[in-house]
């Protein structure tokens, strides 16, 4: 199959999923027990206000009409208005998005920097003590609650050890962000590392069994060169996929970690909105991030197909 054909097919697969996401987000409001308008406004709301909100959100109309209206607004980029801030929920998310994306990328980068050398080391020493030790990392590490890793890092690096890093905030300028967000990003990285190490090690071991590696070795290349130039390139493709597949975990974990370090990102916005019962904002966050995940899945598959033509024929 040509690359274009593959991309078109993959795009067509993404459409029903994206539509499904909008339907699920739309239905969230109908999961609210009782009258959503009354629940959202609270017990002190006047019947007039409740009726107004109900009408405003179209809750007094049949479901298909409501969904149609929801989609019509969505197409124009309107995600509803925040009940608390009085501005568009989409705008609130957009304002906070750079901070969160910064943290996600920073965290992903750190996790690659930590996981790749460890996986390479483990794969090159298969079944030796160091390999067993590194294999133990995922086993233990997956049980660490991400927020708790954050608390421990905060305790060690923020409050002790010379207070190397600030305990919260976002910082000013590029280097300010780099410094201020180091602990949150390290938390994200440590939460992601177990998954990366496990799959990268497995991928490396599989690649090392391949014939072309035997050929490379028999040419008399050093083991280091075989590992770095021949094996790692192929195994790296799987790292990209693993990162892509775990984007949901990465995003969700990041949102929680923001809360530990008081990073003013989308996570903080979402949690605050939950406590202020600001429904449109919670809805907007869920929608934006699930769409982001659909997009990342798509891009990962396309990148994978570009790097490894075999994928297209699956």
């Amino acid at each position: 199959m040509s690359l274009t054909g593959y991309v078109v097919r993959r795009l067509l697969q993404a459409v029903p999923v994206a539509l499904g996401v909008t339907i699920l987000v739309f239905f969230l409001i109908h999961l609210i027990p009782g009258d959503p308008a009354r629940t959202i406004l609270g017990n002190h709301a006047t019947p007039r206000n409740v009726a107004l909100l109900r009408h405003d959100w179209g809750l007094d109309r049949p479901l298909p009409v409501q969904y149609e209206k929801f989609m019509a607004r969505l197409v124009h980029g309107d995600l509803g208005s925040s009940l608390n801030y009085g501005v568009g929920a989409g705008r609130l998310v957009r304002e906070r998005l750079p901070v969160t994306l910064w943290l996600i990328c920073y965290g992903a980068l750190l996790s690659v920097l930590i996981a790749v050398p460890l996986a390479l080391f483990a794969a090159s020493r298969r079944d030796r003590v160091s390999d067993h030790l590194i294999r133990g990392v995922p086993l233990v590490g997956l049980g660490f609650p991400p927020f708790w890793i954050g608390i421990v890092l905060l305790l060690v690096f923020g409050l002790h050890l010379g207070r190397l890093f600030p305990v919260g905030g976002y910082g000013q300028g590029f280097f300010g962000h780099l410094h201020s967000m180091f602990l949150p990003a390290l938390t994200v990285a440590l939460a992601l590392c177990p998954i990366l190490i496990r799959s990268l090690r497995a991928a490396l071991l599989e690649v090392l069994e391949a014939d072309y590696i035997t050929t490379a070795r028999s040419k008399g290349l050093s083991e280091r060169r075989v590992l770095m130039h021949h094996a790692f390139r192929n195994a790296a493709i799987s790292t990209v996929s693993v990162l892509g597949v775990n984007i949901g975990f990465l995003v969700g974990g990041t949102l929680v970690i923001e809360q530990v370090f008081a990073v003013p990102g989308v996570g903080q916005l979402m949690i605050n909105s939950v406590f202020q019962r600001d429904f449109p904002v919670v809805q907007a966050v869920a929608l934006v991030f699930s769409m982001l995940v659909v997009l990342v899945y798509l891009l990962t598959d396309i990148a994978h197909a570009l790097l490894d033509p075999r994928v297209r024929f699956d």
Partner: protein, 289 residues
């Protein structure tokens, strides 16, 4: 696969099931997992016997006190005994996680069996729904669901199950798609057995292994989700002790009483380690080579 290979494969399957009883104690990860988890479950069950204080009893004259004979791990900001709260927290968190995972497993397995076996519209619909749910970042969907439903224990169950079933459906569906083409299913069909009987007696026992192994790691994920909800203030409602909530409440006193925040986390890590070891051991024992 030829008929002979088929017979060999079947024989290995049976061999593995029979071998379980003989080999489990020779699988170190399995033994370690069972031991750790058994100890924690025992502690949770015998909570009144191994604690000296009521986990919700406040003692405002002895707040934030350090470890002592009466309070082995000290007290929190309301004077409640930290050790008792951690032990009773195991009750809360383990119960919620096990029940939620059990129902995810049950619902996901049934949908996976039906969707894999019958195909067609059922399969299209189920697969679509799975893909949609998977598109949501796990924590965002859980938080959104608990938010709309209202945060209490019952709704945490519902939220976890609404998100959790998809993994089991994916696993079981994939296994059924392969298994239903094999001779033993074709033979059962040719013998005129009902679909229900084929699904329950012939397919289920052969496809459920992967799902059981996954369930162990899923309990880890679910415990993490419950304590994370607790940490965010959306979990099990106070004063019921929950490890996540305890870690959150302790964070304010991180400079003076660091144990308050870190010990509940250590409890999570040990529990999760027990479950991960158990999952690894089970995988070794049940997976045909």
């Amino acid at each position: 696969m030829g008929a002979a290979a088929e017979i060999v494969a079947e024989a290995t399957l049976v061999e593995h099931r029979r071998g379980f009883r003989r080999r489990w104690y020779r699988t170190p990860t399995f033994v370690a997992g069972v031991s750790i988890l058994g100890l924690i479950a025992l502690a949770a069950a015998a909570a009144p016997l191994i604690t000296t204080h009521d986990p919700v009893q406040q003692d405002l004259l002895h707040t934030l006190s350090g470890p002592s004979w009466s309070h082995p791990l000290g007290t929190d900001d309301l004077g409640r005994d930290e050790w008792s709260r951690i032990v009773y927290g195991a009750r809360t968190d383990l119960r919620v996680a096990f029940i939620a995972v059990f129902f995810s497993f049950l619902i996901g397995t049934i949908i996976g069996l039906l969707s894999g076996y019958y195909g067609g519209t059922v399969d299209t619909l189920a697969s679509w729904l799975v893909n949609v749910v998977v598109a949501f970042p796990f924590y965002i969907l859980i938080i959104a669901l608990v938010f709309v439903l209202g945060s209490n224990t019952r709704n945490i169950y519902i939220a976890v199950i609404l998100v959790g079933w998809v993994s089991y459906t994916r696993i079981i569906r994939g296994e059924v798609l392969v298994a239903k083409r094999r001779e033993y299913v074709l033979a059962a069909r040719a013998a005129g057995l009902s679909d229900v009987r084929i699904l329950r007696r012939h397919l289920l026992p052969n496809v459920v292994t992967q799902a059981i192994i996954f369930a162990m790691s899923d309990i880890v994920l679910t415990i993490l989700a419950i304590v994370t909800l607790g940490y965010l203030g959306l979990g099990v409602q106070p004063p019921t002790p929950d490890w996540g909530r305890m870690a959150f409440e302790g964070q304010t006193f991180l400079t003076t009483r660091w144990e308050l925040s870190t010990f509940p986390g250590i409890a999570v890590v040990i529990t999760a380690l027990g479950l991960s070891l158990l999952a690894d051991g089970l995988a070794d024992l049940l997976r045909p080579e």
